[in-house]
């Protein structure tokens, strides 16, 4: 049973009960008032009759008195008017047939005032002596009793010792009043039923609108929340407890929704971060795999180089040992070839050691304030024999007053040696290789220029890869280790410096190393 049904049922029952009791009380009050009113009226009638009869009785005209009694007795609502004597014998009656009959002393009309069988008259005023009695055939009557007292005027006919000459009783019929009362009861019942229906309907409507509907709305909203669907706002204009509950509920739903949004945002953020982290990991893993592959390729390439050079040395020496060289010149040539290959092998090993040293990182580095001009001079001197062998002129252009650079002098030497060696190798016969150290906008700059074959545009980036050789380079000179520029690049990276090459085919190349300004040691050093 829903709370609405309960509320309406209980309140309707209370209304019916209250109105029923109220109606019954009202009805009984009204009936009593009517009886009292009729009693008073009956008393008035009785007194009128008594006064009217007095004259005819004094005139000793009982027929006229009988006529008056009959005339008045014909009036509406009057059942009977009678006069009876001490013994109860009816002297006059509006109902002529009752004259001479005796009043039943045990009847209600007498016993109201007299004790049964006792004739002592109570001294009661007529109004109080009147009352409702049951008449013949069970009909309701209002009886009014009055006494006709002996007065001096009566003494002509009645002896003075008699105090009471007779009793006047007027019996009013209660039928009409009873009908009116019944009609009144019906009216009251009908209007009460109507009122009950109206009040019940009104309170049902009120209960439905103010209690049941808001509860239904709240229930629906909670169900929506339970289903994961969050309402934006609980709409209510109610100012009572239910409205308050709905508003609090709305607040709760709102904070729930906000919490859920925060959770969702957090989850999204988390998932985004995880995705990013995963991507980073993937990228790192790919880099590792790539680095691993590059290392394998490098090892393979190094072994190939070492084996090829060794095979060359071995073959050349075998030709000499087995006497396959037809002439002494051929034999000397073979030995020279073996020597050259052996030297190349030595250079290869040296470059590999240099690369390994660079890979060790800062831990293997002994930094100090290094003067660039000194490094340049030393490098140029150490390679001068190579240049002279090829008829290449080595030039240096060192800006005066260059500041020192914070570096490992050995590493700077290796870098410069490789650049100069490379320039000599690829410069033309009787060409010029120019080494320059300068300062540009606070950065120290080393550049090595040659006038050789140059680097084709498409190879400009790749020449710094290990063992990479441009097609023109391999045709021109096969005696390199293929690691020189790679070492230069790695060293530059280690110092945060940039290496770039500008070149024009057949006109030459310029390799420029630009150190970052921060590489300077403090001025006091």
């Amino acid at each position: 049973m829903s709370i609405g049904t309960k509320l309406i049922t209980v309140s309707t029952a209370v209304i019916v009960l209250v109105m029923g009791i109220g109606g019954a009380i009202a009805l009984s009050v009204r009936e009593r008032a009517i009886v009292k009113l009729m009693g008073a009226e009956a008393v008035r009638h009785a007194q009128t009759i008594k006064k009217s009869l007095r004259h005819h009785m004094l005139a000793n005209k009982p027929e006229d008195a009988q006529w008056i009694v009959e005339t008045i007795g014909r009036q509406k609502d009057i059942d009977e008017i009678r006069l009876f004597n001490k013994t109860g014998k009816v002297m006059l009656s509006s109902k002529r047939e009752n004259i001479g009959t005796k009043v039943d002393a045990r009847s209600e009309g007498c016993t109201r005032c007299h004790k049964p069988g006792l004739q002592s008259p109570p001294d009661l005023p007529p109004v109080e002596a009147s009352g409702m009695i049951a008449g013949e055939g069970g009909k309701q009557l209002i009886a009014v009793m009055d006494t006709i007292e002996n007065e001096p005027a009566c003494h002509a006919c009645h002896p003075a010792r008699k105090k009471i000459l007779g009793n006047l009783q007027v019996l009013f019929s209660f039928d009409r009043a009873s009908r009116q009362l019944a009609a009144g009861r019906r009216e009251l019942l009908f209007s009460m039923l109507l009122l009950i229906a109206l009040i019940a309907a009104a309170q049902a409507v009120f209960t439905y609108a103010q209690v049941i509907l808001p509860i239904k709305r709240l229930t629906r909203d909670t169900e929506r929340i339970a289903a994961g669907e969050l309402p934006l706002e609980v709409t209510t204009t109610q100012s009572d407890e239910l409205g308050d509950l709905a508003r609090r509920f709305s607040l709760m739903a709102k904070s729930l929704r906000e919490a859920r949004e925060r959770d969702r945002d957090f989850a999204e953020e988390l998932s985004r971060k995880v995705t990013l982290a995963t991507a980073d990991l993937d990228a790192a893993n790919k880099r590792l795999i790539e680095a691993d592959r590059a290392r394998s390729r490098f090892v393979r390439e190094v072994s190939h180089q070492l084996r090829s050079q060794l095979a060359s040395v071995k073959n050349c020496l075998a030709v000499v040992r087995e006497g396959h060289a037809a002439t002494p010149e051929k034999r000397d040539d073979m030995i020279a070839r073996a020597e050259r290959k052996a030297r190349l092998l030595g250079e290869l090993v040296r470059d590999l050691l240099d690369l390994a040293h660079i890979e060790e990182g800062p831990a293997a580095r002994h930094q100090e304030a290094v003067r660039l001009d000194a490094v340049v001079e030393r490098s140029v001197e150490s390679l001068r024999w190579k240049a002279e062998e090829k008829g290449v002129r080595l030039e240096t252009r060192l800006d005066p007053g260059l500041p020192a650079v914070e570096a490992d002098p050995r590493e700077l030497g290796i870098m410069l040696d490789n650049l100069v060696d490379n320039a000599i190798k690829y410069s033309r016969q009787d060409g010029v290789v120019s080494v320059r150290a300068s300062e540009e906008r606070g950065s120290l700059v080393l550049s090595v220029q040659d006038d050789g074959i140059g680097v084709p545009g498409e190879d400009k980036d790749r020449i710094f890869e290990e063992f990479y050789r441009t097609s023109s380079a391999s045709a021109h000179e096969k005696e390199g280790t293929g690691l020189g520029l790679c070492i230069v690049k790695r060293l530059a990276e280690a110092y945060g410096a940039s290496v770039e090459v500008r070149s024009e085919p057949d006109k030459g190349s310029v390799f420029t190393v630009r150190f970052p300004a921060k590489n300077r040691p403090p001025p006091s050093v």
């Binding site: 095979a311 060289a325 073979m334």
Partner: protein, 133 residues
């Protein structure tokens, strides 16, 4: 030389190895021509009309010798000239299907030799290949 045993074309970008093989083969009575790359190789193939080709597999930093052999076999006039392929140690691996050391279609060469090539073995192999004809 009246007693020339045959003409050998050596195609190898390592000048020293080519030279040492040339001297060895010449000492054993072969006539030798040389090319330093694939392009020169085809020119010499036409000009010298060799009886045997000695080919370095890993020329020019990549498998130029491998490509050369396939290209050479496609031309009818060189289809029957035997090829002796010189490879680096274990370099063959990448060029063969598992368990198949010789594949006339994929790598159409007659013999392989690993570097460093022993002169006696070289002479023996060359004589063998030329004698097969």
């Amino acid at each position: 030389m009246s007693d020339v045993k045959g003409k050998v074309l050596i195609i190898d970008d390592d000048d020293d190895i080519a030279e040492s093989m040339q001297l060895t083969l010449e000492a054993h009575g072969y006539e030798v021509a040389r090319a330093a790359d694939s392009k020169e190789g085809f020119v010499k193939l036409d000009g010298e009309d060799p009886d045997l080709v000695i080919l370095d597999m890993m020329m020019e930093g990549k498998g130029a010798g491998f490509l050369f052999s396939r290209k050479m076999r496609k031309e009818a006039k060189y289809a029957r000239v035997p090829i002796l392929m010189i490879t680096g140690m274990r370099e063959q691996t990448g060029f063969f299907f598992p368990g198949k050391t010789k594949d006339p279609v994929f790598l159409p060469v007659d013999e392989f030799m690993e570097k460093p090539v022993e002169s006696k073995a070289l002479v023996k192999k060359v004589a063998e290949l030329l004698g097969r004809r």
